[in-house]
Structure formats: C-alpha cells, structure tokens
Symmetry: C2
Subunit: 341 residues, 2 copies
C-alpha cells in the first residue's frame, strides 16, 4: 500500500529511531531508561516471577502487506506475544520490537506500525522500551519479545503440562473466525456475510489477558493459547501432560457466520489457527467456579468442549466424538512451519 511520508532512505536510521521513541514514549516510573541507549532499564516488582516470550512474523508467511495496513500489523505483532504471556496467567509489562524493513517503506508506515502496537500496549499497561530497526531487502521481518510479571502468590502459573485425567477442556471464545478471515482474504470474498468480523479477528486478535488472570484466580492450572489450531494445540497440551483427550465436536463454539459461509466450517474451527482464544483444562468443580466467576465479571463464560482422560498404551491421543457418541482419533497435526508450503 502506498502512503504519505518520506522514504526511509531519505529519512535515515537515526531520525527514524527518534520518531519511534516519541511515539512509544512512556511515563511509567519503573522504566528508567527507554529507547536511545544500548539497552532499556526497568525495575521489576520484588518477589514477582518474570515471564518471557518472543514471536516472529515474516512477510508472506505470517502476513501480506497487500492485505493489511501497518497499524494493524503493529497490533498483531504485539498481540500474539501478549497472548503467550496471557497463556501463562501473567501480566504483560515490557516489549521490545525488532523491525527489519525493505528500505522502500515510508517513515509514515513505520510510525503507523508503532501507533498500532502502542495503542494495544497502552490498553494492557505495556511499555515498548526498545528495539532494533534494520534493513532486510527481501522482505519485512518483525520480532517482538514481551516480558510479563506474575506475583508469587502461591498460585501456580498456567502450564501446558498440568492437565489431568478427568479435567474438563474449555475454550474462552468461538473458534474458526480467524481462519475464515484468512480464507476471505485469500479468495477475495468481500461480499460474504460476517466478513468484517472474520477479517478483524484474523488481523487484530485480542489477547485474553483478563480471562487468563481470572482462570488462574479460580484455580485453573493448565492452559495455552490457540495459535496453531485447536486440535494441534490440544495435542501439544496432551503430550506435555501425558494424557489423552476427547473433544465433543458439537460443543466446539463456532459462529454461525463461519458455518453459513463455508461448507468445511468444522475444519476451520478445529484446525484453523490465529484465533488466540485460550485453551484450558480444569477439574469439574474448578470449571464450574470459572463459569460463575466469568458470569459475575460480565464476561462470556468459557465453553466446555470435552474432557481429558488417561492416556492409553499408545500414548496421548486426541479423539473427536460426534453427536451419536462415536469416537474417532484425529491426525492432530497443527500448522508446521517447515512442513507447510
């Protein structure tokens, strides 16, 4: 997309960094040194554990510049990392952003990117404290690292390996919207009902930070975010926990727009990635407590979609159960970056 502003070649690296520093300037007193020195300096709360995560978005693998604007890209690059912090039940605090650019971009593109990231950061109390801006002639690459904090309050962080047989499997929201949004973009289905919501979910996922804190407070111990698709991610949780799972296909929440728009909606909901809802498991009494707590907080209660069971001799497997109660094992592979494409 073309836009105003000057080409980066004319602006130069230093002016660009100064512009970025202005855009993400923070008033957080815990940030002692922000952008502009060799490193940023931050004062953590004593007695808290730190949670660190990082994720890269590569042009043409994770995004296409003809489908997105720079502000949206800034949102998404930060959101997928906040989602990982949420998946631990922690609070995001700091972010650093590495942006590798072709050099043909305009300074306004970069400003828009940081505006998009900063708007999301501000909503979650996150300070963008540094980064690296470099040239990458063959394509844009974005790496974001986020540091979060978790009080050592005796409640364990949410982990993938804490699922237990008998746990109810829950998800915090509907699945398939983001995959449908990607399909809409790929096929140019602009007139499809529900298209804006699907695209919005694909482009601007909402990290479930508040939901995760509530889950943790209710006593949930096992969770992860759904980035690569429900079945693939559930399989990872099962393997980490050494358990198997049964998913009741009919109970997986799928928006009607996805069902009406795509005959293979089940595939989109079960294997489509990018929704960034939380997948968690908890004993039935904890799950009931979760549903009450969400309702009290005015949030849509999570949906129960199945349960964990003892792993058989073949090790952890994920099975799908249909309306008639028939189970079939699934080839649960999620998106594999190196096998795909």
């Amino acid at each position: 997309m073309t836009s105003g502003g000057r080409p980066l070649r004319e602006v130069g690296e230093e002016a660009l960094i100064e512009q970025i520093a202005r855009l993400v300037a923070t008033t957080c007193p815990r940030v002692r040194i922000g952008i502009g020195d060799d490193a940023a300096v931050w004062r953590p709360h004593a007695g808290h554990e730190l949670v660190v995560t990082t994720d890269t978005l590569i042009e043409r693998i994770h995004f296409r510049l003809e489908w997105t604007d720079w502000a949206t890209l800034g949102h998404k690059a930060l959101a997928v990392n906040l989602s990982d912090i949420a998946a631990m039940g922690a609070l995001p605090r700091l972010a650093v952003v590495d942006l590798a650019l072709r050099g043909t971009e305009r300074d306004r593109d970069v400003a828009d990117f940081y505006r998009g990231a900063q708007a999301l950061a501000r909503r979650f109390g996150v300070a963008i404290v540094g980064g690296d801006t470099t040239r990458s002639p063959l394509g844009v690459a974005i790496s974001v690292t986020v540091i979060g904090e978790s009080p050592r309050d005796g409640r364990p962080l949410l982990r993938r390996d804490a699922g237990r047989p008998g746990d109810v499997i829950g998800v915090t929201g509907p699945l398939g919207l983001a995959a449908a949004g990607l399909r809409v973009l790929e096929r140019g289905l602009k007139t499809l009902d529900g298209n804006p919501v699907m695209q919005e979910r694909y482009h601007r996922p909402e990290p479930r930070v508040r939901e995760a804190l509530l889950l943790r407070r209710c006593g949930v111990r096992a969770a992860m975010d759904i980035s690569d698709g429900l079945l693939g991610d559930l399989e990872k949780l099962c393997r980490a926990s050494g358990v198997s799972a049964i998913v009741d296909t009919l109970r997986v929440p799928v928006p009607n727009a996805v069902k009406w728009g795509f005959p293979d909606w089940e595939e989109l909901a079960l294997r489509g990635g990018d929704d960034y809802e939380l997948l968690f498991t908890a004993p039935p009494h904890v799950f009931a407590r979760v549903q009450r707590a969400f309702a009290r907080a005015g949030m849509l209660p999570p949906r129960a979609i199945g349960q964990l069971i003892e792993a058989g001799t073949a090790g952890p497997v994920v099975q799908l159960r249909d309306a008639a109660g028939r189970c079939r094992p699934v080839e649960a592979r999620g998106y594999d970056h190196f096998r795909a494409g």
Copy 2:
C-alpha cells in the same frame, strides 16, 4: 555450506524444538520454566534493575552463509546482544532466540547454531530460555533478546548521556580488526598476514562484560559499545551528552596487521564497525583509577584516545587531531542501515 543432518522439512517443527531444548537445557534454579511452554519463567533477584536489549541479524545484510558456519553465527547473534548489556555495565542473565529459516537448512545447521550460542552463553552465565523457530523462504533472520541484571548498589548504570566536558575518552581494545576481517572476506585475501585474527574478530566478537563491570566499579558513568564504528558511535555519545569531542588520531589503537595490510587502515579503525570494544568517557582521575584496576586484574588497560569538550554554538561535533595538533571536524556518520546500499 552443506553439512550432515536431515532437511528441516523432514524433521518438522516439533522435533526441531525438542532438539533445541536439549541443546540449551539449563540447570539454573532461577529458570522455573524453559523451552516448551508458551513462555519461559524466571525469578529475578530482588532489588536489581533489569536491562533489556535486542538485535536482529539479516542474511546478506549482517552475515553471509558462504562466509560463516552456523556455530559462528550462533556466537555472533548472541555476542552482539551481550555487548549491549555490557555497555550498560550490567550482567547478562537470559536470552531468547528467534530463528527464521529458509527451510532448506539441515537440522544439524540449527543444532550447530544453538551450540555456538550456548557455548558463549555458558561462559557468561546466560540461560537460553526460549525462542521461536519459523520459516522465511527468502532469507535467514535472527533476532535475539537478552535480559540482564544490575544490582541497585548506588552506582549508576553506564549511559550514553553521561559524558561531561573534560572527560578522557577511552576504548577497551584495538579497533579496525573486524572491519579488516570483513575486507578480507569480501576480497578473498586469504594469504594476508593476520587474516585469521581479523576474521575471528569479525565473526566472533567478544562481549566486554567483565571490562564493563570493572569500569562501573571504578566510577565510570558514560559508555557504549562500538558496533557501527568509533566516530559514528562517539558522535552518538556526544549528542546524547550534549558535548563535543577531540580524538587524537595517533592514539587510536590499531593493530599492526591492519596497518600493514590496508593503506586505508585509518578509515577501518575510525569508521569500521563490528569490533564491539567499549567506548567510555571519565574524568582524568577516574580514568587513572580504571587503568590501575585493569592492570591489577591482569587485563590490558584501556587506551585514552582523546577528550570531551564543551559543545560550541554549532552543537556537538567530533574532531580529529593529527600529530601536529591540527584539528579537523569529521563527517562522523556511522553505518546507516537505510542509507547504505
């Protein structure tokens, strides 16, 4: 370079991540959750400040796979970040690594990369706790983020904006070797005297962590690492501090191998980047203390190469002074990623 091992396409993402997790496994009791969950969890020391830095290396901009092996690349990607932590006078503790690969690499390449990074990490007590491995068909991109700690012992961290008129300008080691090493690679000067040392410095810079701690303990307050070239980096320090600088050209330490090998050795030493020595400034009595402390510790004392002076009406400038005492201002631009090439 070709090497053994299986292509990543056959190995798959999950097996690759398991392999990486084994290679960088840490026994550090402060790391509560390492690779394998949504995020890593780490317990910081109470009362310490955290220092965060990040740097990206892009294929064909920062490295060429025909000039380096993967272990060396792993070393360098971590080293440039450790150098930024050192430049603050802090101790590096944690690293996360984002590796975007073409997909045509072998699993052994990736293992070598992490072996190289891990060997350096171990020497500096750093735990590699996570990362992201993704596909990037057009070229390899590496982003590393390092978190360091600094005791709040009343001594300020080393900053770019703490230089004062009257300060002596010092460097912790010789300059120009890395730029000469790059020249050797570009021109294929394999028979040149000193070639192995030059290439080694270019490929495997040594972060000056120990030197920085000693500087800070001696009372130094202003420092940065020399990554983009002495004059360009000194100009940044001058602008951040609001001072000017005079560099005595003859006092800049340049190894004889560089002088003998290249007629434009002064250019390599003054403007060549990638040496990752520390540039610092301190009042004369502090500088003298630094030299005694280095000598006592059995380390080569830093070299005084000039001094900071009041900025004139034109603002901060860097001047070069020759043997006859004549000063000339320099067009001090360091490497600019977007203007170059």
